[in-house]
Symmetry: none
Subunit: 226 residues, 2 copies
DNA sequence: TTTTCCGTGACATATTGGCGACACATCGAA
DNA sequence: TTCGATGTGTCGCCAATATGTCACGGAAAA
């Protein structure tokens, strides 16, 4: 498991030094991608997904701010700005654009590396608890949005909480009783069949991922990776 | 009752010291297996099952990460990483790979031993009562899933509860009457032969492990280790 | 050998869950 | 308020599946 890192920097020496530092220090932790001008960076941002970005602000082509905005369109991966100016307005503008941290040139590579690790760890931690994934299904507990193959799908409240319960117990067979207890609560004068029907509607909502919800006849339901 | 411990470490002195410490301190609690290079360790991981692993990361041959990944293929036994670097990225990567804890060299053997005991206790607790094992059969009562040789097998409700009853009384001969009482309940206007047939279907479902269910002619059935 | 017991295949039946349809509740907008 | 749109629980039917029964043949005990 390695993390995709994008470094954008127009000075070839600094770009190479930074890339090498991350590669060596991380011993395989980082999968480093580099770009030396704004347009190249934009293309790479749009083409792939990254776990961390280190962006110089002053660049030929698009600026670091532009790249940051483009990146924010599709993900909220941590972004560190590198600024030669050190002027306050750049930093301020950086935070407005949505960066997470910044370093001022000249900077120590070790310092940059430490910041990167800290941000990565934080991102991992916050996403681990908040985003439930299984196969092509992804559920964000903060926004309460569900996506399948990256596309958002409409989902009802009952279906949502049922899906949460399934995902919290990925792989496990959940009996109707357990599902009723957790999703419907104690106000149970409802028939067992509501579970069936909600499962059915959830499957419809999930579209191509509907097959991930498996029926364990005589026992209950479970969600699997595939 | 002893627990199988694998220690992988390329320094012969440290390896011996650690092994001796566990043997003496545990006075029979640990069944210590050692390996001094990555490939040897991989072979041992693939060959046997362990209750705990202590893995050095930097090794000749395969790295500790590789061994961890290989181990995770077949079990979720606790794994402790030993790193000489103490750098954060190794630790982070270790957790990514699926380790449970780590110690940084130089470390105190007593400290390592304490961590080991804690992890072992936690692992035992979570598995006791929840996972029934017998030979190559493993049944998880939480997830209601059954695996044979690590691979999941499909199983019906009746077969499942019959298997639970057999495993709860591992080795013991269970009469048809006892089986009917426990698995079918009191609504018994069913013939004794349903047991035979369910046993037959269970054997089919268990595939290569079918031989573990033995017939005790004139008495009933029992499940054995092999 | 004789008798009892069990494995197996075939079949009948019971159970389960998927599905469509409907009724009622809830909520917002006109 | 009224009206519709939407969400949610219930019911009944039917196909799929699980499960029980039977009969036969062979193996193990007596």
């Amino acid at each position: 498991m390695s993390f995709r890192l994008l470094i954008v920097e127009d000075s070839p020496e600094l770009l190479e030094a930074t890339g090498d530092f991350f590669r060596e220090e991380g011993s395989g932790l980082w999968d480093v991608v580099t770009a030396s001008d704004g347009n190249d960076a934009l293309a790479k941002v749009r083409g792939g997904s990254f776990d961390l970005m280190i962006l110089d602000i002053m660049l030929p082509g698009a600026s670091g701010f532009d790249i940051c905005r483009a990146a924010r369109q599709k993900s909220d991966c941590p972004i560190i700005f590198v600024t030669a100016l050190g002027s306050e307005n750049n930093i301020l503008k950086g935070y407005e654009t949505g960066c997470d941290d910044y370093v001022v040139k000249p900077f120590s590579l070790r310092h940059l590396y430490a910041k990167s690790l800290a941000l990565l760890k934080r991102a991992k931690k916050s996403s681990d608890g908040d985003i439930l994934r299984c196969g092509t299904i992804s559920l964000n507990r903060n926004t309460m949005l569900v996506t399948v193959e990256g596309r958002e799908v409409a989902i009802n409240a009952r279906e949502y909480f049922l899906l949460v319960y399934l995902l919290e117990n990925k792989g496990a067979v959940l009996t109707r009783k357990a599902i009723l207890d957790h999703v419907w609560g104690d106000d149970l004068d409802v028939s067992d069949r509501v579970v069936d029907n909600t499962i059915r509607r959830l499957r419809e909502s999930l579209g191509s991922a509907s097959g991930q919800i498996k029926t364990a006849i005589g026992r209950g339901y479970r969600i699997t990776e595939e």
